[in-house]
């Protein structure tokens, strides 16, 4: 019993000291949960570093994955304050003000007035660095015997949707599917990894992803003009956020000249272009 009392007292002392030690620093500390398309990994990490220098109380916690996966996670109730998608489709599916033909579930996850376009991107054809023996040089080469295997995002991944759009506009999509030479990947970074590892002959990714892995892949072609809709990334604060003030402040920061410069350095362009 005596031992118990002694232990209890020292435990209580420890708690008090602990609270005292922690409280000044944690007087105001907020964590923002940002879900962003996988292609934004490198640039958003730089943005978070820059933001910490200005607003040290806010810590950004990222979840990078394909926009389709992120949209499903948000729909299932994941804790997200700000969502950046690589395609309008995924944001539209969560936005009550969007076309009901797209937002079939009538979902209302986007906080009104907070949606904006953040960056724009290009789609390119890449090959493993230094391994283009058969001279793949054009998107149309995938249906020739220059290519045995091509990696594309699957239909839930924006870059996969853009790839399908490009090939439909070139009139090659059905033929390509019949040839059993597409391997479908769950997000754009997986396509990039497969090409970088040389497991496939070529793949379709964003220009920014190719730039981020310039030591492992070579860009051989840009998507033909007009073969796909403009690739514009929408961003929006989520209705269910517990930290609307901080989330809206971060969203405003993303539109500042500082951030635009960071995005352009990584290969993105302004959304208007």
């Amino acid at each position: 019993m005596k031992r118990c009392a002694g232990t209890r007292r020292s435990f209580a002392l420890l708690l008090i000291v602990g609270f005292l030690a922690l409280s000044p620093a944690s007087a105001y500390a907020v964590e923002l949960s940002v879900f962003a398309a996988a292609s934004m990994t490198e640039s958003m990490n730089r943005v978070a570093e820059a933001y910490r220098a200005i607003v040290p109380e806010v810590t950004i916690v990222y979840n990078f994955d394909s926009s389709g996966t992120l949209k499903t996670q948000i729909e299932q109730g994941a804790d997200c304050d700000l969502f950046i998608s690589a395609g309008q489709k995924q944001m539209n599916e969560l936005d009550i003000t969007a076309d009901p033909a797209v937002n079939k579930g009538g979902l209302n996850f986007v906080r009104e007035g907070t949606r904006f376009n953040i960056v724009s991107n290009q789609v390119v054809l890449i090959v493993p660095k230094g391994q283009n023996k058969r001279g793949i040089a054009d998107f149309r080469d995938v249906t020739t015997d220059k290519v045995a295997l091509v990696a594309l995002g699957n239909s839930d991944v924006p870059v996969g949707q853009y790839s399908e759009e490009i090939y439909r506009n070139l009139g090659l999509w059905d033929q390509l599917k019949e040839m059993n030479r597409i391997t479908y990947c769950s997000n754009v970074k997986e396509v990039l990894s497969q090409v970088a590892a040389g497991a496939v002959d070529c793949g379709i990714v964003y220009g920014t992803d190719a730039a981020s892995a310039a030591d492992k892949v070579d860009v051989v072609a840009q998507a033909p003009k007009g073969s796909h809709r403009p690739i514009v990334y929408p961003a929006g604060v989520m209705r269910a956020t517990q930290k609307p003030v901080e989330a809206i402040a971060f969203a405003k920061y993303l539109q500042s000249p500082e951030c635009v410069a960071i995005f352009e350095r990584h290969g993105f362009s302004k959304p208007g272009e």
Binding site: G68, T69, P128, L149, A151, N154, S155, D156, N180, R181, I182, T183, Y184, C185, S186, Q194, A197, G198, A199, V200
Partner: protein, 237 residues
């Protein structure tokens, strides 16, 4: 409905089970005879793939048999053949992941095996090979069967390492597990449910068949067990 994933999963699981059957039994037999320290080290190394996350196994595999890896690039040079992104890449993944299951189960069976039977056989002048195939193996049937079934079931359900080395090419490398994942991602729940049902039916059928076989092996020996002794059974517990 495209039934290629069913055919592919079954053939990958069957081939890798055959491989692990022979390699697992061989490993269990020879390692049981090694000194304790060597046995401990080998045990750890050979059981590792079972406890590692399949994605770790897949990562190592890609770095080894991938076109830029030491083994993959050599094979590409010599034979012009790819070891990844083809249907048989899955066999590498499933064999590595299921080997520990077969190995440990069979080792358990061999260690519980009563060695006096072997000694008696040796006094009668029987060769080691004869003793292994005609005395040891039949008495460890249950352990071996259990190991084989575990290996087959695990191979059928392999996802993480498989998806990394084979990708997902409908009609060429799709397995049931990778197909269900893709269908979920595409939002095609109905087809996903169909594949889940197929998988459940196959797994249930395998387990029922195994149960029936186990009962057949158990009954005739129970009489012999009663005659011999109360504490020491013969063969597997």
């Amino acid at each position: 409905m495209d039934l290629f994933p069913l055919y592919n999963s079954l053939r990958v699981a069957a081939i890798s089970t055959v491989i692990t059957f022979f390699t697992g039994i061989a490993a269990a037999y020879y390692i049981a005879k090694t000194p304790r320290v060597v046995k401990g080290v080998l045990d750890c190394v050979l059981t590792l793939p079972m406890v590692l996350p399949p994605t770790v196994v897949g990562f190592f595999l890609l770095k080894t048999i991938g076109p830029l890896g030491p083994v993959g690039s050599r094979v590409l040079e010599l034979f012009g053949a790819k070891l990844v992104m083809v249907w048989y890449s899955a066999i590498f993944a499933t064999t590595i992941v299921t080997f520990p299951l077969m190995y440990r189960t069979v080792r358990g069976a061999f260690e519980a095996f009563d060695e006096t039977l072997l000694y008696s056989g040796q006094t009668l002048g029987l060769s080691n090979t004869y003793l292994f195939w005609r005395v040891m193996m039949p008495n460890c049937k249950q352990g071996i069967l259990a190991g084989t079934v575990l290996a087959f079931a695990r191979a059928l359900g392999e996802y993480g390492a498989t998806t990394m080395v084979t990708g997902y090419i409908p009609g060429r490398t799709a397995t049931i597990s990778t197909t269900v994942y893709q269908l979920w991602r595409e939002g095609n729940d109905i087809l996903a449910y169909k594949w889940v049902a197929i998988n459940l039916i196959i797994s249930a059928a395998v387990l029922v068949a195994v149960n029936m076989l186990e009962n057949r092996y158990r009954q005739p020996r129970s009489a012999a067990k009663d005659i011999l002794s109360d504490e020491e059974g013969v063969g597997v517990p």
